[in-house]
């Protein structure tokens, strides 16, 4: 047996900060700054209503079973908001997924969105398209749908992989208004170039929390922010100490 002391300390500190953030948020939910990508959803769906074309949404390849679960959750929360806007403007929407367990979750969210807007009769289970567990199948299904139906709005929020380039590239050629957001830095440049509105990096998590307004999500965002301030302070102090020739923090990390 052994003990990774420093790592355990950091892990415990983060858990404590997140817990405290959640508990405080129950009394007074923290505020999240506005995001242009979320603020223009209404305008985009209104555009789709004027053009008489649908809205397409995808959370990409990420699921709820891997380390990208928080991003997919945030993407689904944003989809709920989009579904409400689609219900309000009576616009059909389509959600494409590659994971079978997301189908009932998405159906529920979209139906609830239309119901909240007062137009549950517009909801259709065919709005959720499951292409199988294969990324290439999803890519070709999405590309084919976008080139055939030319949706007015194309949205991709979640843990995306290669499909980002094909999906957003096809949307750009079809003339869709595009929204995107992912914390996967590798695909952010493509999103920034092809999307009209983009959520960068961890803005996706915060946007998901801002949409759901759930105290636990808002509180954990706050706790994470406090932890990052702690890490930033630690880095600055250790840099100063290292420049002064003092290796205290280096020895601490090796505990």
């Amino acid at each position: 047996m052994y003990l990774k002391g420093f790592e355990l300390f950091v892990f415990a500190a983060l858990c404590l900060l997140v817990y405290l953030g959640i508990e405080r948020a129950k009394r007074k939910p923290p505020e999240v700054r506005p995001f242009p990508a979320l603020e223009h959803i209404d305008e985009a769906v209104g555009r789709a209503a004027e053009m008489g074309r649908p809205v397409h949404f995808s959370t990409g390849l990420g699921g709820l079973h891997d380390e990208w679960a928080p991003v997919t959750t945030a993407g689904l929360a944003i989809m709920g908001e989009v579904a409400k806007a689609c219900g309000k403007y009576r616009v059909p929407m389509r959600y494409t997924t590659v994971l079978s367990y997301l189908v009932p979750i998405a159906e529920d969210l979209i139906k609830f969105g239309y119901d909240t807007a007062g137009h549950v009769e517009l909801y259709n289970p065919d709005m959720v398209v499951y292409t199988g567990e294969e990324q290439r199948a999803m890519m070709s299904a999405m590309m084919g749908y976008i080139m055939r139906e030319k949706p007015a709005v194309n949205m991709l929020f979640g843990a995306t992989k290669y499909e980002t380039i094909n999906f957003l590239g096809t949307g750009a050629i079809a003339g869709c208004m595009q929204f995107g957001g992912t914390p996967r830095l590798y695909y952010l440049p493509v999103m920034m170039v092809t999307c009209d509105y983009c959520l960068l990096g961890e803005e996706v998590y915060a946007a998901g929390a801002a949409v759901t307004k759930e105290p636990s999500q808002l509180g954990s965002i706050k706790g994470i922010d406090h932890f990052k301030i702690f890490v930033l302070g630690w880095m600055i102090v250790s840099l100063i100490l290292a420049l002064a020739g003092l290796d205290w923090f280096g020895k601490l990390i090796k505990m």
């Binding site: 990324q135 290669y162 590798y186």
Partner: protein, 289 residues
């Protein structure tokens, strides 16, 4: 964004761009130009790590690839395989192959083995090298392999039980493995999470073969030693082949990559020149009004 003179599905401008791109990439593949390929320190380091293997050392080559990513993953992987099998023949290094991607990594392994057949044919299967095909579970399979090799690799790709494979006797955990060549396109962070030389004392080094665009992603791990070396995509393949002394797909594609990149830069410059000209014309006409 661009005019919409659409004949069919794609606008005309896009089709012209694609056509020029295809021609520019096809010409150097059919008739190589032979541009020099400078070898970077990163590839030299990875080559030295592989070359440091001695008789009896265990090399694991894990491919988180599939046929969709064949042309980006196969050139460096084939270079690595050629090196590995050469070491197996010359020095008695033992090579274990498997894949973790569920989208067809077994086919990928079959394809790269087809291309490197002259290198593994003289070897004895089961004693010098073994192929476990696809290990289901993705990152969980990697975690399982690290803790219990025999339990995770129960049968090889031909259905033979691991207990009946001579070279697998004595390999219990990742600490019994000397080096790892991990090939991936979009998940390089699984390697330092599950198979880090800092965690497993017997494991001397790991090499990550990944896309050039993923290199910044793994650099923090390379800095700290969680990943020892890396081979970056087709450029890394070309460099590795230069060090091996036998050119293959990687070197062939380098000329195409050079022309392709020059074409991309030309498109960026042209698009910006057009944009700035249009913008200045629009602002001038607004001023005149």
């Amino acid at each position: 964004m661009g005019e919409r003179v659409a004949l069919g599905t794609f606008p005309l401008t896009d089709r012209l761009v694609f056509l020029v791109f295809i021609i520019l990439v096809a010409i150097p593949i059919l008739s190589p130009i032979g541009l020099p390929i400078p070898v970077t320190d990163a590839t030299k380091k990875s080559f030295k790590l592989m070359d440091s293997l001695k008789s009896g050392d265990i090399l694991v080559m894990c491919f988180e690839q599939d046929m969709g990513t064949f042309y980006s993953g196969a050139p460096p992987d084939e270079a690595g395989l050629r090196h590995a099998f050469t070491l197996a023949k010359q020095r008695g290094v033992k090579v274990i192959l498997f894949g973790t991607s569920s989208a067809g990594c077994k086919v990928y392994i079959d394809a790269i083995l087809m291309d490197t057949k002259p290198y593994w044919e003289p070897l004895r299967y089961g004693e010098d090298w073994v192929n476990f095909g696809w290990l289901p579970g993705f990152e969980t399979a990697m975690a399982g392999f690290a803790r219990d090799v025999q339990g995770t690799c129960k049968v090889d790709v031909y259905g033979k039980r691991v207990e009946e494979i001579p070279m697998m006797r004595g390999i219990k955990t990742l600490s019994d493995v000397t080096g790892i060549w991990y090939s991936t396109n979009t998940n390089p962070d699984m390697l330092p999470r599950q198979w880090s030389p800092l965690e497993y004392k017997g494991l001397k080094w790991t090499i990550c073969q990944t896309l050039f665009a993923s290199v910044p992603w793994i650099m923090p791990y390379v800095d700290k030693g969680s990943i020892t070396g890396y081979v970056a995509d087709q450029r890394g393949a070309g460099e590795y082949e230069m060090l091996l002394g036998k050119l293959g797909m990687g070197a062939t594609f380098m000329d195409a990559q050079s022309l392709g990149h020059l074409y991309g830069i030309a498109l960026i410059v042209m698009a910006n020149v057009h944009y700035l000209y249009t913008r200045s014309k629009t602002s001038k006409s607004k001023e005149e009004k």
